[in-house]
Symmetry: C2
DNA sequence: ATTCCTCCTACATCATCATGTAGTTGCTAG
DNA sequence: CTAGCAACTACATGATGATGTAGGAGGAAT
Protein backbone atom coordinates (compact mmCIF):
# COMPACT_ATOMS: atom_id res chain seq x y z
CA UNK A 1 0.00 0.00 0.00
CA UNK A 2 1.57 3.19 -1.23
CA UNK A 3 -0.47 5.71 0.72
CA UNK A 4 0.42 6.13 4.36
CA UNK A 5 -2.40 5.92 6.86
CA UNK A 6 -2.56 9.21 8.73
CA UNK A 7 -3.20 8.69 12.41
CA UNK A 8 -4.00 11.08 15.23
CA UNK A 9 -3.86 10.05 18.88
CA UNK A 10 -5.86 11.28 21.85
CA UNK A 11 -4.88 9.89 25.24
CA UNK A 12 -4.17 11.64 28.52
CA UNK A 13 -1.77 8.94 29.67
CA UNK A 14 1.59 10.41 28.65
CA UNK A 15 3.66 7.24 28.69
CA UNK A 16 1.04 5.31 26.73
CA UNK A 17 0.72 8.13 24.24
CA UNK A 18 4.51 8.25 23.80
CA UNK A 19 4.75 4.53 23.18
CA UNK A 20 1.89 4.68 20.68
CA UNK A 21 3.64 7.56 18.92
CA UNK A 22 6.81 5.48 18.66
CA UNK A 23 4.87 2.46 17.45
CA UNK A 24 3.21 4.39 14.67
CA UNK A 25 6.41 6.12 13.64
CA UNK A 26 8.21 2.80 13.50
CA UNK A 27 6.15 1.47 10.66
CA UNK A 28 6.41 3.04 7.21
CA UNK A 29 2.76 2.34 6.39
CA UNK A 30 1.63 4.87 9.01
CA UNK A 31 2.14 8.56 9.50
CA UNK A 32 1.59 10.25 12.85
CA UNK A 33 -0.32 13.46 12.23
CA UNK A 34 -0.95 14.45 15.81
CA UNK A 35 -0.89 13.36 19.41
CA UNK A 36 -2.85 15.12 22.12
CA UNK A 37 -3.69 14.59 25.80
CA UNK A 38 -7.28 15.69 25.35
CA UNK A 39 -9.76 16.32 22.54
CA UNK A 40 -10.62 19.93 23.42
CA UNK A 41 -9.55 21.19 20.00
CA UNK A 42 -10.39 18.10 18.02
CA UNK A 43 -12.29 19.95 15.28
CA UNK A 44 -9.43 22.37 14.56
CA UNK A 45 -6.86 19.57 14.81
CA UNK A 46 -8.81 17.39 12.42
CA UNK A 47 -9.39 20.19 9.96
CA UNK A 48 -5.73 21.04 9.91
CA UNK A 49 -4.13 17.60 9.99
CA UNK A 50 -6.75 15.62 8.04
CA UNK A 51 -6.11 12.22 9.64
CA UNK A 52 -7.53 9.05 8.12
CA UNK A 53 -7.93 7.43 11.52
CA UNK A 54 -8.20 8.77 15.05
CA UNK A 55 -7.27 6.58 17.98
CA UNK A 56 -9.38 7.82 20.86
CA UNK A 57 -9.16 7.27 24.57
CA UNK A 58 -12.37 7.74 26.59
CA UNK A 59 -11.40 9.08 29.98
CA UNK A 60 -9.72 12.43 29.38
CA UNK A 61 -9.89 15.78 31.15
CA UNK A 62 -12.26 18.45 29.87
CA UNK A 63 -14.10 16.27 27.41
CA UNK A 64 -14.59 12.53 27.14
CA UNK A 65 -13.62 10.63 24.03
CA UNK A 66 -17.28 9.69 23.63
CA UNK A 67 -18.25 13.33 23.38
CA UNK A 68 -15.35 14.02 21.04
CA UNK A 69 -16.35 11.21 18.67
CA UNK A 70 -19.74 12.77 18.23
CA UNK A 71 -18.23 16.15 17.39
CA UNK A 72 -15.72 14.89 14.89
CA UNK A 73 -18.07 12.35 13.31
CA UNK A 74 -20.64 15.04 12.58
CA UNK A 75 -18.15 17.47 11.05
CA UNK A 76 -15.82 14.97 9.40
CA UNK A 77 -17.77 11.77 8.77
CA UNK A 78 -15.04 10.36 6.54
CA UNK A 79 -12.59 10.24 9.44
CA UNK A 80 -12.61 6.84 11.17
CA UNK A 81 -12.50 6.83 14.95
CA UNK A 82 -11.33 3.80 16.89
CA UNK A 83 -11.85 3.90 20.63
CA UNK A 84 -8.95 2.58 22.67
CA UNK A 85 -9.86 2.29 26.30
CA UNK A 86 -9.95 0.22 29.46
CA UNK A 87 -13.75 0.49 29.63
CA UNK A 88 -15.64 -2.53 28.42
CA UNK A 89 -19.04 -1.75 29.93
CA UNK A 90 -22.05 -1.97 27.64
CA UNK A 91 -23.05 1.66 28.05
CA UNK A 92 -19.62 2.98 27.03
CA UNK A 93 -19.57 0.69 24.02
CA UNK A 94 -23.11 1.64 23.10
CA UNK A 95 -22.51 5.36 23.38
CA UNK A 96 -19.24 5.23 21.48
CA UNK A 97 -20.74 3.30 18.58
CA UNK A 98 -23.86 5.43 18.47
CA UNK A 99 -21.74 8.58 18.47
CA UNK A 100 -19.90 7.33 15.43
CA UNK A 101 -16.89 5.21 16.44
CA UNK A 102 -16.14 2.46 13.91
CA UNK A 103 -13.89 0.48 16.21
CA UNK A 104 -13.42 -0.29 19.88
CA UNK A 105 -10.29 -1.97 21.18
CA UNK A 106 -9.28 -2.52 24.76
CA UNK A 107 -5.99 -1.18 26.06
CA UNK A 108 -4.52 -4.59 26.62
CA UNK A 109 -4.40 -5.12 22.85
CA UNK A 110 -0.88 -6.01 21.61
CA UNK A 111 0.86 -3.27 19.58
CA UNK A 112 0.82 -5.05 16.24
CA UNK A 113 -2.87 -5.65 16.63
CA UNK A 114 -3.43 -1.98 17.34
CA UNK A 115 -1.77 -1.20 14.04
CA UNK A 116 -3.88 -3.81 12.31
CA UNK A 117 -7.00 -2.25 13.81
CA UNK A 118 -5.99 1.16 12.50
CA UNK A 119 -5.42 -0.38 9.10
CA UNK A 120 -8.80 -2.12 9.16
CA UNK A 121 -10.56 1.08 10.09
CA UNK A 122 -8.84 2.95 7.27
CA UNK A 123 -9.99 0.26 4.83
CA UNK A 124 -13.62 0.53 5.90
CA UNK A 125 -13.70 -2.17 8.52
CA UNK A 126 -14.87 -2.20 12.11
CA UNK A 127 -11.98 -3.38 14.30
CA UNK A 128 -13.09 -4.69 17.67
CA UNK A 129 -11.45 -6.49 20.49
CA UNK A 130 -13.19 -9.89 20.23
CA UNK A 131 -14.84 -9.66 23.62
CA UNK A 132 -16.22 -6.24 22.70
CA UNK A 133 -17.53 -7.56 19.38
CA UNK A 134 -19.40 -10.28 21.21
CA UNK A 135 -20.90 -7.70 23.56
CA UNK A 136 -22.08 -5.70 20.59
CA UNK A 137 -23.71 -8.79 19.09
CA UNK A 138 -25.45 -9.47 22.38
CA UNK A 139 -26.73 -5.91 22.63
CA UNK A 140 -27.76 -6.16 19.00
CA UNK A 141 -29.76 -9.31 19.68
CA UNK A 142 -31.52 -7.68 22.58
CA UNK A 143 -32.89 -4.84 20.60
CA UNK A 144 -36.60 -4.97 20.17
CA UNK A 145 -37.81 -6.23 16.84
CA UNK A 146 -38.73 -3.46 14.45
CA UNK A 147 -42.36 -2.43 14.79
CA UNK A 148 -44.60 -4.56 12.69
CA UNK A 149 -45.29 -2.94 9.39
CA UNK A 150 -48.98 -2.45 9.61
CA UNK A 151 -51.27 -0.94 7.01
CA UNK A 152 -50.52 2.73 6.74
CA UNK A 153 -53.18 4.54 8.74
CA UNK A 154 -54.26 7.87 7.38
CA UNK A 155 -54.90 10.00 10.44
CA UNK A 156 -55.57 13.70 10.03
CA UNK A 157 -53.27 16.09 11.84
CA UNK A 158 -55.92 16.71 14.50
CA UNK A 159 -56.47 13.00 14.96
CA UNK A 160 -52.73 12.47 15.30
CA UNK A 161 -52.53 15.27 17.83
CA UNK A 162 -55.32 13.79 19.90
CA UNK A 163 -53.97 10.25 19.70
CA UNK A 164 -50.65 11.56 20.91
CA UNK A 165 -52.37 13.22 23.85
CA UNK A 166 -54.17 9.97 24.65
CA UNK A 167 -50.85 8.11 24.78
CA UNK A 168 -49.76 10.58 27.44
CA UNK A 169 -52.67 9.43 29.55
CA UNK A 170 -54.72 12.60 29.18
CA UNK A 171 -58.46 12.49 29.71
CA UNK A 172 -60.86 13.96 27.15
CA UNK A 173 -61.43 16.91 29.41
CA UNK A 174 -57.70 17.58 29.74
CA UNK A 175 -57.25 17.29 25.99
CA UNK A 176 -60.11 19.67 25.29
CA UNK A 177 -58.65 22.23 27.68
CA UNK A 178 -55.16 21.87 26.30
CA UNK A 179 -56.00 22.31 22.63
CA UNK A 180 -58.94 24.62 23.20
CA UNK A 181 -61.77 22.65 21.65
CA UNK A 182 -64.96 21.28 23.11
CA UNK A 183 -65.00 17.93 24.84
CA UNK A 184 -67.59 16.66 22.34
CA UNK A 185 -65.22 17.57 19.56
CA UNK A 186 -62.54 15.50 21.25
CA UNK A 187 -65.01 12.61 21.31
CA UNK A 188 -65.84 13.17 17.68
CA UNK A 189 -62.20 12.90 16.66
CA UNK A 190 -61.62 9.93 18.91
CA UNK A 191 -64.52 8.14 17.31
CA UNK A 192 -62.88 8.72 13.92
CA UNK A 193 -59.56 7.44 15.25
CA UNK A 194 -61.25 4.26 16.48
CA UNK A 195 -62.81 3.71 13.06
CA UNK A 196 -59.53 4.20 11.25
CA UNK A 197 -57.61 1.97 13.64
CA UNK A 198 -60.42 -0.61 13.90
CA UNK A 199 -60.38 -0.46 17.68
CA UNK A 200 -63.09 0.02 20.26
CA UNK A 201 -61.46 1.54 23.28
CA UNK A 202 -59.08 4.17 24.39
CA UNK A 203 -56.58 1.66 25.69
CA UNK A 204 -56.65 -0.33 22.47
CA UNK A 205 -55.90 2.81 20.49
CA UNK A 206 -53.07 3.82 22.81
CA UNK A 207 -51.64 0.35 22.72
CA UNK A 208 -51.59 0.24 18.94
CA UNK A 209 -50.21 3.74 18.67
CA UNK A 210 -47.26 2.89 20.89
CA UNK A 211 -46.59 -0.58 19.54
CA UNK A 212 -46.74 0.49 15.92
CA UNK A 213 -45.13 3.88 16.19
CA UNK A 214 -48.18 5.68 14.80
CA UNK A 215 -47.28 8.87 16.56
CA UNK B 1 -2.17 -23.97 19.55
CA UNK B 2 -2.21 -27.70 20.30
CA UNK B 3 -5.94 -28.32 20.02
CA UNK B 4 -7.36 -28.55 16.53
CA UNK B 5 -10.37 -26.43 15.71
CA UNK B 6 -13.19 -28.74 14.69
CA UNK B 7 -15.14 -27.35 11.77
CA UNK B 8 -18.39 -28.41 10.12
CA UNK B 9 -19.51 -27.04 6.76
CA UNK B 10 -22.98 -26.46 5.37
CA UNK B 11 -23.21 -25.30 1.77
CA UNK B 12 -25.29 -26.59 -1.11
CA UNK B 13 -22.74 -25.52 -3.71
CA UNK B 14 -20.77 -28.73 -4.25
CA UNK B 15 -17.65 -27.25 -5.78
CA UNK B 16 -17.39 -24.57 -3.13
CA UNK B 17 -17.93 -27.10 -0.38
CA UNK B 18 -15.24 -29.35 -1.84
CA UNK B 19 -12.72 -26.55 -2.01
CA UNK B 20 -13.53 -25.52 1.56
CA UNK B 21 -13.06 -29.11 2.66
CA UNK B 22 -9.65 -29.19 1.01
CA UNK B 23 -8.72 -25.85 2.52
CA UNK B 24 -9.54 -26.98 6.04
CA UNK B 25 -7.83 -30.33 5.61
CA UNK B 26 -4.70 -28.62 4.32
CA UNK B 27 -3.97 -26.87 7.60
CA UNK B 28 -3.00 -28.86 10.65
CA UNK B 29 -4.66 -26.40 13.03
CA UNK B 30 -8.10 -27.44 11.73
CA UNK B 31 -10.03 -30.66 11.62
CA UNK B 32 -12.97 -31.20 9.28
CA UNK B 33 -15.73 -32.86 11.26
CA UNK B 34 -18.45 -32.74 8.66
CA UNK B 35 -19.56 -31.30 5.35
CA UNK B 36 -23.19 -31.22 4.29
CA UNK B 37 -25.24 -29.73 1.45
CA UNK B 38 -28.08 -28.73 3.77
CA UNK B 39 -28.73 -28.36 7.49
CA UNK B 40 -31.71 -30.69 7.73
CA UNK B 41 -30.02 -32.88 10.34
CA UNK B 42 -27.92 -30.21 11.96
CA UNK B 43 -28.89 -31.15 15.53
CA UNK B 44 -27.94 -34.81 15.10
CA UNK B 45 -24.77 -33.88 13.19
CA UNK B 46 -23.73 -31.41 15.85
CA UNK B 47 -24.48 -33.80 18.69
CA UNK B 48 -22.43 -36.50 17.05
CA UNK B 49 -19.50 -34.55 15.68
CA UNK B 50 -19.21 -31.82 18.34
CA UNK B 51 -17.71 -29.11 16.10
CA UNK B 52 -16.19 -25.98 17.62
CA UNK B 53 -17.22 -23.87 14.65
CA UNK B 54 -19.86 -24.25 11.97
CA UNK B 55 -19.45 -22.48 8.66
CA UNK B 56 -22.97 -21.88 7.40
CA UNK B 57 -24.33 -20.92 4.03
CA UNK B 58 -27.75 -19.23 3.97
CA UNK B 59 -29.50 -20.30 0.79
CA UNK B 60 -29.92 -24.07 1.00
CA UNK B 61 -32.74 -26.44 0.09
CA UNK B 62 -35.20 -27.52 2.77
CA UNK B 63 -34.02 -25.13 5.47
CA UNK B 64 -32.16 -21.85 5.36
CA UNK B 65 -28.94 -21.32 7.23
CA UNK B 66 -30.70 -18.63 9.24
CA UNK B 67 -33.25 -21.13 10.50
CA UNK B 68 -30.52 -23.67 11.17
CA UNK B 69 -28.49 -21.20 13.25
CA UNK B 70 -31.44 -20.71 15.55
CA UNK B 71 -31.85 -24.45 16.05
CA UNK B 72 -28.23 -25.19 16.75
CA UNK B 73 -27.67 -22.08 18.88
CA UNK B 74 -30.53 -23.02 21.19
CA UNK B 75 -29.43 -26.60 21.64
CA UNK B 76 -25.66 -26.11 21.52
CA UNK B 77 -24.92 -22.50 22.53
CA UNK B 78 -21.21 -23.20 22.87
CA UNK B 79 -20.89 -23.98 19.17
CA UNK B 80 -19.90 -20.90 17.17
CA UNK B 81 -21.66 -20.32 13.88
CA UNK B 82 -20.16 -18.17 11.16
CA UNK B 83 -22.37 -17.33 8.22
CA UNK B 84 -20.69 -17.51 4.85
CA UNK B 85 -22.92 -16.19 2.14
CA UNK B 86 -23.37 -13.92 -0.85
CA UNK B 87 -26.18 -12.04 0.91
CA UNK B 88 -25.23 -8.73 2.40
CA UNK B 89 -28.71 -7.25 2.90
CA UNK B 90 -29.50 -5.82 6.31
CA UNK B 91 -32.37 -8.18 7.05
CA UNK B 92 -30.29 -11.30 6.41
CA UNK B 93 -27.52 -9.95 8.62
CA UNK B 94 -30.00 -8.94 11.30
CA UNK B 95 -31.77 -12.28 11.35
CA UNK B 96 -28.53 -14.26 11.34
CA UNK B 97 -27.07 -12.35 14.26
CA UNK B 98 -30.30 -12.40 16.23
CA UNK B 99 -30.59 -16.14 15.68
CA UNK B 100 -27.16 -16.63 17.18
CA UNK B 101 -24.47 -16.35 14.52
CA UNK B 102 -21.21 -14.91 15.86
CA UNK B 103 -19.73 -14.15 12.49
CA UNK B 104 -20.76 -13.17 8.98
CA UNK B 105 -18.35 -13.29 6.07
CA UNK B 106 -19.13 -12.82 2.42
CA UNK B 107 -18.26 -15.49 -0.11
CA UNK B 108 -15.66 -13.41 -1.85
CA UNK B 109 -13.45 -13.65 1.26
CA UNK B 110 -9.97 -15.05 0.46
CA UNK B 111 -9.29 -18.58 1.77
CA UNK B 112 -6.70 -17.66 4.38
CA UNK B 113 -9.07 -15.07 5.75
CA UNK B 114 -11.80 -17.67 5.98
CA UNK B 115 -9.50 -19.76 8.14
CA UNK B 116 -8.68 -16.74 10.24
CA UNK B 117 -12.37 -16.06 10.73
CA UNK B 118 -12.92 -19.61 11.88
CA UNK B 119 -10.02 -19.24 14.29
CA UNK B 120 -11.40 -15.95 15.61
CA UNK B 121 -14.82 -17.46 16.18
CA UNK B 122 -13.30 -20.41 18.05
CA UNK B 123 -11.40 -17.96 20.27
CA UNK B 124 -14.55 -16.03 21.18
CA UNK B 125 -14.37 -13.31 18.57
CA UNK B 126 -16.90 -12.08 16.05
CA UNK B 127 -15.38 -12.33 12.58
CA UNK B 128 -17.07 -10.10 10.04
CA UNK B 129 -16.33 -9.06 6.53
CA UNK B 130 -15.54 -5.36 7.06
CA UNK B 131 -18.45 -4.09 5.00
CA UNK B 132 -20.80 -6.31 7.00
CA UNK B 133 -19.35 -5.06 10.29
CA UNK B 134 -20.03 -1.51 9.21
CA UNK B 135 -23.60 -2.43 8.33
CA UNK B 136 -24.05 -3.91 11.78
CA UNK B 137 -22.75 -0.72 13.39
CA UNK B 138 -25.17 1.31 11.32
CA UNK B 139 -28.09 -0.89 12.31
CA UNK B 140 -26.87 -0.71 15.89
CA UNK B 141 -26.87 3.06 15.82
CA UNK B 142 -30.42 3.13 14.53
CA UNK B 143 -31.84 1.15 17.39
CA UNK B 144 -33.98 3.10 19.75
CA UNK B 145 -32.35 4.13 22.99
CA UNK B 146 -32.95 1.70 25.84
CA UNK B 147 -36.08 2.47 27.83
CA UNK B 148 -35.45 4.94 30.57
CA UNK B 149 -34.48 3.22 33.76
CA UNK B 150 -37.38 4.12 35.93
CA UNK B 151 -37.80 3.17 39.55
CA UNK B 152 -38.25 -0.56 39.76
CA UNK B 153 -41.95 -1.20 40.16
CA UNK B 154 -42.83 -4.17 42.27
CA UNK B 155 -45.94 -5.59 40.66
CA UNK B 156 -47.27 -8.93 41.81
CA UNK B 157 -47.65 -11.66 39.26
CA UNK B 158 -51.41 -11.10 39.11
CA UNK B 159 -50.93 -7.37 38.69
CA UNK B 160 -48.44 -7.99 35.92
CA UNK B 161 -50.82 -10.37 34.22
CA UNK B 162 -53.64 -7.85 34.36
CA UNK B 163 -51.48 -4.96 33.20
CA UNK B 164 -50.41 -7.08 30.28
CA UNK B 165 -54.03 -7.74 29.41
CA UNK B 166 -54.76 -4.02 29.63
CA UNK B 167 -52.00 -3.28 27.12
CA UNK B 168 -53.75 -5.62 24.72
CA UNK B 169 -56.77 -3.34 24.93
CA UNK B 170 -58.93 -5.74 26.93
CA UNK B 171 -61.82 -4.38 28.98
CA UNK B 172 -62.24 -5.36 32.65
CA UNK B 173 -65.05 -7.69 31.66
CA UNK B 174 -62.91 -9.42 29.06
CA UNK B 175 -60.05 -9.77 31.51
CA UNK B 176 -62.30 -11.24 34.19
CA UNK B 177 -63.68 -13.78 31.74
CA UNK B 178 -60.26 -14.69 30.42
CA UNK B 179 -58.56 -15.32 33.75
CA UNK B 180 -61.67 -16.54 35.52
CA UNK B 181 -61.96 -14.01 38.32
CA UNK B 182 -64.70 -11.54 39.16
CA UNK B 183 -64.82 -8.17 37.54
CA UNK B 184 -64.56 -6.51 40.95
CA UNK B 185 -61.37 -8.42 41.53
CA UNK B 186 -60.02 -7.07 38.29
CA UNK B 187 -60.88 -3.60 39.55
CA UNK B 188 -59.19 -4.32 42.84
CA UNK B 189 -55.93 -5.31 41.17
CA UNK B 190 -56.10 -2.40 38.76
CA UNK B 191 -56.49 -0.02 41.67
CA UNK B 192 -53.31 -1.48 43.16
CA UNK B 193 -51.51 -1.14 39.84
CA UNK B 194 -52.49 2.53 39.66
CA UNK B 195 -51.14 3.12 43.15
CA UNK B 196 -47.86 1.41 42.41
CA UNK B 197 -47.41 3.22 39.10
CA UNK B 198 -48.70 6.54 40.47
CA UNK B 199 -51.21 6.86 37.65
CA UNK B 200 -54.91 7.56 37.56
CA UNK B 201 -56.24 6.01 34.42
CA UNK B 202 -56.15 2.94 32.33
CA UNK B 203 -54.50 4.68 29.44
CA UNK B 204 -51.83 6.19 31.64
CA UNK B 205 -50.99 2.74 33.00
CA UNK B 206 -50.88 1.20 29.53
CA UNK B 207 -48.76 4.01 28.24
CA UNK B 208 -46.22 3.64 31.02
CA UNK B 209 -46.18 -0.13 30.73
CA UNK B 210 -45.36 0.03 27.03
CA UNK B 211 -42.92 2.91 27.18
CA UNK B 212 -40.98 1.51 30.12
CA UNK B 213 -41.11 -2.16 29.28
CA UNK B 214 -42.85 -3.04 32.54
CA UNK B 215 -44.39 -6.13 31.05
C1' DA C 1 -51.95 -17.69 68.24
C1' DT C 2 -51.25 -13.18 65.44
C1' DT C 3 -49.66 -10.52 61.63
C1' DC C 4 -48.72 -9.74 56.99
C1' DC C 5 -49.20 -10.58 52.22
C1' DT C 6 -51.65 -11.93 48.15
C1' DC C 7 -55.68 -12.97 45.99
C1' DC C 8 -60.50 -12.93 45.97
C1' DT C 9 -65.41 -11.02 46.31
C1' DA C 10 -69.38 -7.75 46.73
C1' DC C 11 -71.69 -3.33 46.82
C1' DA C 12 -72.47 1.66 46.02
C1' DT C 13 -71.77 5.79 43.60
C1' DC C 14 -69.94 9.13 40.76
C1' DA C 15 -67.04 10.12 36.69
C1' DT C 16 -65.82 9.18 32.25
C1' DC C 17 -66.18 6.88 27.96
C1' DA C 18 -68.55 5.14 23.59
C1' DT C 19 -72.00 5.71 20.40
C1' DG C 20 -75.60 7.73 17.78
C1' DT C 21 -78.00 11.74 16.04
C1' DA C 22 -78.03 16.32 14.41
C1' DG C 23 -76.17 20.56 12.88
C1' DT C 24 -72.61 24.53 11.43
C1' DT C 25 -68.53 26.60 9.15
C1' DG C 26 -64.81 27.08 5.93
C1' DC C 27 -62.24 25.46 2.11
C1' DT C 28 -61.45 23.14 -2.30
C1' DA C 29 -62.55 20.83 -6.58
C1' DG C 30 -65.57 19.79 -10.33
C1' DC D 1 -73.54 26.16 -7.76
C1' DT D 2 -72.98 21.35 -5.38
C1' DA D 3 -70.39 17.81 -3.05
C1' DG D 4 -66.84 16.32 -0.15
C1' DC D 5 -63.67 16.95 3.54
C1' DA D 6 -62.00 18.54 7.98
C1' DA D 7 -62.96 20.67 12.09
C1' DC D 8 -66.21 22.09 15.22
C1' DT D 9 -70.42 21.80 18.43
C1' DA D 10 -74.40 19.93 21.19
C1' DC D 11 -77.42 16.50 23.20
C1' DA D 12 -78.92 11.91 24.90
C1' DT D 13 -78.10 7.48 26.76
C1' DG D 14 -76.13 3.25 28.12
C1' DA D 15 -71.70 1.09 29.25
C1' DT D 16 -67.55 1.09 31.54
C1' DG D 17 -64.07 2.86 34.62
C1' DA D 18 -62.43 4.81 39.26
C1' DT D 19 -62.86 4.90 44.00
C1' DG D 20 -64.20 3.76 48.57
C1' DT D 21 -65.92 0.49 51.94
C1' DA D 22 -66.26 -4.03 53.75
C1' DG D 23 -65.21 -8.78 54.25
C1' DG D 24 -63.05 -13.66 53.51
C1' DA D 25 -59.41 -17.38 52.54
C1' DG D 26 -54.86 -19.40 52.35
C1' DG D 27 -50.05 -19.44 53.25
C1' DA D 28 -45.79 -18.02 55.48
C1' DA D 29 -43.30 -15.94 59.20
C1' DT D 30 -42.96 -14.62 63.97
Amino acid sequence: MAKKIKVTLYDDNNSLRKSLEQLIQTYPDFELTGSYPNPLHILDNTKEKKPDVILMDIDMPGMTGIEAVELVHKKFPEVKVVMQTVFDEDDKIFQSICNGAVGYILKKTPPLQILDSIKQASEGGAPMTPSVAIKILKMFRQQPPPPEEKDKVDLSSRETEILSALTKGMSYKMISEEIKIGIDTVRFHIKNIYEKLHVHSNTEAVSRALKEGLI
